[in-house]
């Protein structure tokens, strides 16, 4: 233990921890309280207890002349240091935080696939909106593989793939994918419409024009204000007329084409298909829409 004398009164040999230091001068507690404490507060001066480095500030143990280690400026004996260390960061708290960190890190890795899948779904939707159906299919496939337990993602992948195959004129494969999609996504008018379009394609490609007609009529029932649906029926009837020579088919072909034009006379596709129907009937030739456009890019006129 170290001792000091008060600079003001006769008190001497005071334990250092019972003195106050002010402006470099040492005072006993009594002198400090009576004379200086108010002045210190009023004038913003700094007074402090200069801890005796040989006395533990926690338990008061006198270490004689040995200087103790410090705990943020306060001398502390080894026993108190150990107790404080154990109290501040006991083993169970360390284990608690280690467990939290382990769980969080594990979860990030374990659940990362969900974030990847989410990102791929966003990319798939963006690509689909832009009309890049091939990319949309690829992203949707990745999204589905990352979360295989979610059937809905498989349905979305099949939907995008079905649309892509439909655009590529691969009606049979498109129909299979769209049917897979419907099984998962269920009641969805958009999928039903596309399934009918795939059936129309299958019917046309296999020269099963009754199937073509049935599917086209289903689309009309789904949306009676859809001009494209009406012109598809007209197209089917024109094929039946050319194939079987039925006058009723010819009549219905023209009727449905007129209905389509009545619903929308400005749409380029509708006008092209109506023109195609007229061409087929007039020339008794079944020709695909793409081939018709190649031959007659400015439309066909009856001579």
């Amino acid at each position: 233990m170290r001792y000091r004398d008060c600079s003001k009164c006769d008190s001497s040999h005071l334990p250092q921890n019972e003195t106050v230091t002010l402006d470099g001068e040492v005072y006993c507690n009594k002198c400090y309280q009576e004379v200086y404490s108010d002045k210190v507060l009023a004038q913003g001066m700094v007074a402090y207890t200069d801890f005796d480095p040989t006395v533990c500030a926690t338990c008061g143990t006198d270490a004689g002349s040995m200087i103790l280690s410090e705990n943020f400026g306060r001398p502390i004996c080894d026993d108190c240091a150990k107790k404080l260390k154990d109290k501040i960061m006991p083993l169970w708290v360390k284990a608690f935080f280690a467990a939290i960190i382990a769980i969080v890190v594990f979860s990030f890795f374990y659940n990362w696939r969900f974030y990847q899948s989410y990102s791929n779904i966003k990319k798939a939707n963006a690509a689909f909106a832009k009309g890049d159906y091939e990319k949309a299919t690829a992203y949707a496939k990745d999204a589905s593989e990352e979360v295989p337990e979610l059937e809905e993602l498989k349905g979305i992948k099949s939907f995008y793939k079905g649309v892509f195959l439909l655009i590529k004129d691969k009606s049979v494969e498109a129909l299979e994918e769209l049917r897979n999609s419907k099984r998962v996504l269920q009641d969805n008018v958009a999928i039903d419409n596309l399934i009918n379009k795939a059936k129309m394609g299958v019917g046309f490609d296999s020269k099963n024009y009754e199937l073509f007609l049935a599917a086209a009529k289903e689309n009309v029932e789904l949306d009676t204000a859809n001009a494209q649906a009406f012109v598809a029926v007209a197209s089917a009837y024109s094929c039946i007329y050319v194939d079987k020579g039925q006058d009723s088919a010819k009549k219905f072909a023209y009727e449905y084409a007129q209905k389509a034009l009545a619903l929308d006379s400005t749409d380029k596709d509708i006008k092209e298909y109506a023109n195609l129907v007229d061409y087929r009937i007039s020339n008794k030739t079944i020709i695909k829409h793409d081939d018709f456009i190649k031959h007659f890019p400015n439309g066909w006129t009856k001579k």
Partner: protein, 175 residues
Amino acid sequence: MFFIPGQIISLLSFPGIIVHEFAHLLFCRLRKVAILDVCYFRFDNPAGYVIHERTDNFYTTFLVSMGPFFVNTLLCLLICLPAYMPIKFFDIEHPLSYGLIWLGVSIGMHAIPSNQDASNIYEQAKEKVKERNILALISFPLVGIIYVFNLLRFFWVDVIYGVAIGIGIPSLIFG
């Protein structure tokens, strides 16, 4: 709204209390403030505490008192983030995800400093504001918010805060 005794709430959300006290301790360490005693969790009121040496440094007082707000809020978000996507977006229920949500929200619930912490800030802000200290100026409404928040704990506003951070913020980010 129904009343649940504080001790049951403490038991159900004990990770938040531990992290709250740890946050005070962390900032004490960072600002070199001596720690005299710590209790991370107990079945009493308060459920935890940190006793540290007094400091006249306003920034230190502010950081030590507001420590839980920063640490608990950040941890709540980090813990809930991996759990958010499978549950909210993919509707996939997994015990790990629900466990993480509980852990995150219980930590977030205890992000707001206590009235004692607010009082510590207020006492020093009163003096510092005379020096036109901006942080001291900001502290007054902050202290008011803390007091109001602690008053509204009866109406589960602490749970609402935890959910807002753990689930609300990821919802805003990921839609």
